[in-house]
């Protein structure tokens, strides 16, 4: 039955002849495992084409959608991570197989007369494969791909006269944008694979015309391509596929945070197989007079490629072939060495743990810090995407409302040259290295560490006159306040007077209570005010009774005779906003030296930060991740004795709070309304008015 059907088909299609034509190729000396590299490359490309088309069914080019769709493929789509993983890993496998194939061809002398054209076709195929790798790297539109590809397209502008035009044509204009993606995508998924198929057909046709280079030997019989070589090729490809799937599962393809043109990524590196080119650029010193970056990036690789092109002719002269073998070996070895060197440079801090002070260590450490920062930023946007979905405007619109991502970025940009943010525990990923403060040096920088600013722990440290307390760089850094009245009071009065351990214990308890009373002014969303009512109330009494001597200088509630800034609303949203916008508004005027060096970030005179940016920073410092544009949940630290009229207000608050999901802060549930809240709001409104008037 099958035989009859086969004959019927064959008589009309000639399938038998075609198959024989395709598969009955004589292999002198018989099938060998070392002939598999070419077939493996073809298989790798087929895999790329297939997985690529399926990725295409879910990918959307364009700067609002590209990252979002790749995120969706990787994290939402059933099997999407594996699909993208295979595509990602197989691309690298292809680049590994390429030099193996080339080395083999050169060593076995398969590039010389009469196979010149096939050698050249192979070189073209290599270029196309590398171009596919380059164009594919940009498509996820994440920070890594964006900034790494940017370097590559900057290089496109290097050739004299035409360079600028080439770059504009590749990028689709002056700047990266929709057209960069649409063009790269068309190249990656259309033009380049099309060219690759075309050249591959020619490459194979040429290969068949000249046959296999090997010669028949007496020891082993010749064999046909079918079935033994096909079997060997098939087994090799199956192993390759298995390996690729395995790697794709244990090392899934990464996705960084979405590309943000205004936030440079300090760890931009090309895909590892371009690292040798990346590394090579470092050797072309910029002071050499002529345009040596052009030489390093284009002329030198061009010359090398030219040599490779001429290799069939070089082989004709005496020892030419030996030269070619050496050249290819040197190229592969050299590229390998440069890759190794690039790797060692970026990981210097890991391989040389002791050499902490060297520039190389610091540079590598910085690189790793940037990689880590990208990981953190990705996790932050991932949390947002899972909570809110991606808006039509794209992931950046969501990210730019996030006090955590933007807080870290803005803090690094504007604050970290003086302030540190040594986040610990579950917030450790948000830590920002500030200046390293040497307490003995009269350095120009060094202001308080702002992690946990306004919290009881932070204030307890500030009021601690012993080692690690107010005199440590964590608080006044290298500002003039190190020698100021506050330090003098805490160290020389408060703590000097506490002589016995008993005294100190009492002092510590008082400080803890006062710290909670002050933290109540801050209304921080992460604090358990409800569970610390006693401390807050005792603290307020201490402050009013001036147990620690605070209200001698500071104002606090009814104590209005202080001459430095008031403790009312200390570290609250409004306070921080004013402090960042214009610190001189926080300090009372007659205390001339109060603001040592902090600039105004948003005043009539300067606009270093926009109001939105200040809002983001304030929320970040208060560890309040309410997105910009949303209203933070109100925090009422002090449970009042709730007079009868309060009851109604309390009910209203409760009903508005009902949809609060389980993940929200535990301590917000039981916060009833503070009697003084309205009064405080009025006051702050008045202050704000005053501020604007000034």
């Amino acid at each position: 039955m099958f035989g009859k059907l086969y004959k019927w088909v064959d008589s009309r299609t000639g399938i038998q002849d075609s198959l024989e034509e395709a598969l009955y190729e004589n292999i002198p000396g018989g099938a060998k495992w070392r002939y598999v590299s070419g077939s493996m490359l073809v298989f790798a490309f087929m895999t790329q084409a297939i997985t690529g088309i399926f990725l295409w069914m879910n990918y959307s080019a364009g700067s609002q959608n590209a990252w979002a769709s790749v995120y969706y493929i990787t994290y939402n789509m059933e099997g999407g991570a594996l699909l993208r993983g295979i595509h990602h890993v197989m691309a690298q496998a292809m680049v590994v197989l390429l030099p193996i194939h080339i080395l083999q061809v050169v060593i076995e002398k398969a590039y010389v007369k009469p196979r010149e054209f096939n050698w050249w076709l192979g070189l073209v195929l290599m270029k196309i494969t590398l171009a596919l790798g380059l164009t594919g790297y940009l498509l996820p539109w994440d920070q890594k791909g964006y900034w790494a590809t940017k370097v590559a397209t900057e290089l496109a502008a290097l050739p004299p006269i035409v360079g600028g035009y080439i770059q504009k044509i590749v990028v689709g204009g002056n700047e990266y944008g929709h057209f960069t993606l649409t063009r790269f995508f068309a190249l990656h998924a259309g033009v380049l694979p099309g060219l690759l198929v075309g050249f591959l057909v020619l490459h194979l046709a040429m290969f068949r015309k000249h046959g296999i280079t090997a010669h028949s030997s007496e020891k082993r019989a010749d064999q046909m391509f079918w079935p033994m070589q096909v079997l060997k090729d098939g087994v090799a490809c199956a192993l390759l596929f298995g390996l690729v799937v395995y790697v794709a599962i244990i090392h899934p393809a990464e996705l960084g945070p979405p590309a943000e043109p205004t936030e440079p990524y300090g760890a931009a590196r090309p895909e590892w197989y371009f690292l040798f080119l990346f590394q090579m650029l470092k050797y072309f010193d910029g002071s050499m007079g002529w345009n040596n970056e052009f030489v390093g990036a284009i002329v030198f690789p061009g010359v090398v490629f030219g040599f490779m092109f001429l290799m069939p002719f070089i082989a004709r002269i005496k020892v030419g072939h030996a030269f070619n073998v050496l050249l290819i070996a040197a190229l592969v070895g050299g590229a390998g060495y440069l890759t190794y060197e690039a790797h060692m440079e970026d990981n210097y801090n890991i391989y040389n743990e002791e050499d902490v002070d060297s520039a190389a260590y610091k540079k590598a450490a910085k690189y790793h810090a940037e990689v880590e920062r990208a990981d953190t930023e990705f996790r932050l946007i991932q949390e947002l995407v899972e909570d809110y979905g991606i808006p039509l405007e794209g992931p950046l619109a969501l990210q730019q409302r996030d006090p955590y991502t933007m807080g870290v970025r803005l803090f690094r940009r504007q604050c970290a040259s003086c302030h540190a943010y040594n986040a610990t525990g579950e917030n450790a990923h948000l830590a920002i290295a500030g200046p390293e403060i040497d307490p003995n040096a009269e350095g120009p920088m060094g202001a308080p560490d702002l992690y946990g600013f306004g919290s009881p722990v932070w204030i307890q440290g500030l009021l601690n006159g012993e080692e690690g307390g107010i005199t440590s760089p964590k608080y006044f850094g290298n500002t003039s306040h190190v020698e100021g009245e506050m330090v003098a009071h805490v160290r020389d009065t408060m703590w000097a007077e506490a002589e016995t351990d008993e005294d100190k214990a009492v002092l510590k308890e008082t400080i803890e209570q006062v710290s909670w009373a002050l933290a109540a002014e801050a209304k921080l969303p992460y604090l358990d005010y409800a569970g610390n009512q006693d401390k807050i109330e005792s603290g307020i009494n201490h402050l009013n009774d001036d147990t620690l001597g605070c209200v001698g200088c500071h104002n606090y509630k009814e104590n209005e005779f202080g001459y430095v800034f008031t403790l009312d609303h200390y570290a609250s949203s409004e306070w921080l906003t004013t402090m960042i916008s214009n610190p001189n508004e926080v300090y009372s005027e007659d205390w001339g030296t109060a603001n040592d060096r902090m600039p105004a970030f948003h005043s009539d005179a300067t606009k270093l930060l926009t109001q939105d940016e200040i809002e983001l920073l304030v929320r970040f410092l208060r560890q309040d991740r309410t997105l910009l544009g949303d209203t933070p949940e109100s925090v009422e630290p002090l449970q009042s004795e709730a007079p009868a009229e309060e009851a109604e207000t309390a009910e209203v608050t409760e009903t508005t709070e009902t949809p609060a999901p389980a993940e929200s802060e535990e301590d917000t549930d039981e916060t009833p309304v503070d009697t003084t809240q309205e009064a405080i709001e009025e006051e702050s409104a008045e202050e704000a008015e005053e501020a604007t008037e000034e």
């Binding site: 297939i50 699909l83 064999q223």
Partner: protein, 199 residues
């Protein structure tokens, strides 16, 4: 194995599947050929069938009764004249989440007794959008001449054919007496069938 090369070559030409290794080669070839396709096809087929989840903080949209959407207040619905209302709800489109998007539309009308009826605007024939026309006091489809009476039943329009396989689709409604609000259980139905089957 044969003794000379030439005979080997000729022998293997005799039968395409003449040896065990030939079958093995074909099998291995088939497996690696379909490997990548299988992974791709899996994502291609499974993705549209997968149940989508709204973002964590936007789930349920505050409605206690899933599937019901607020469309209008009772007072907005006219007596004996259908009025078109848009269904507005949060929408998930692959990776994008959008609040308050128009998902579709319904016709609402009241009778003298105050009973409210609700019709899907999608024609059961081939999915075009029907419209109420005042002149004929009926629903007409702009595509293939399907027409419906105000009660949703097919209109006998004198001689010309009415290709709709079933009356206009009705939708379940709920009236919240406290707020005087009408909720519609909005869903789409397969077109071209005699029975009304939800998608």
């Amino acid at each position: 194995m044969s003794e000379t090369k030439i005979s080997t070559a000729k022998e293997s030409r005799r039968g395409f599947f003449g040896s065990f290794s030939a079958w093995l080669a074909a099998a291995v070839g088939a497996v690696i050929g379909v490997g990548p396709v299988c992974v791709g096809l899996y994502t291609f087929i499974m993705e549209p069938l997968r149940k989508k989840q709204m973002p964590r903080k936007e789930r349920d949209g505050g409605s206690s009764d899933p599937g019901f959407f607020r469309v209008a207040s009772v007072d907005e619905i006219a007596t004996d004249v259908p009025r078109r209302f848009t269904i507005v709800a949060d929408k998930l489109d692959a990776w994008n989440f959008m609040k308050d998007q128009a998902l579709g539309a319904v016709y609402l009308q009241k009778n003298e007794a105050g009973d409210i009826s609700c019709y899907h605007t999608t024609c059961p024939h081939a999915g075009c959008s029907v419209a109420y026309e005042q002149d004929s006091n009926a629903y007409h489809c702009p595509c293939h001449n399907s027409s419906f009476n105000l009660d949703g039943s097919k209109l006998e329009n004198g001689g010309s054919t009415n290709p709709s396989p079933r009356p206009l689709d009705t939708l379940e409604i709920k009236v919240d007496e406290a707020t005087n609000t009408v909720f519609v259980k909005y869903e789409d139905y397969y077109t071209g069938r005699h029975d009304k089957v939800a998608k």
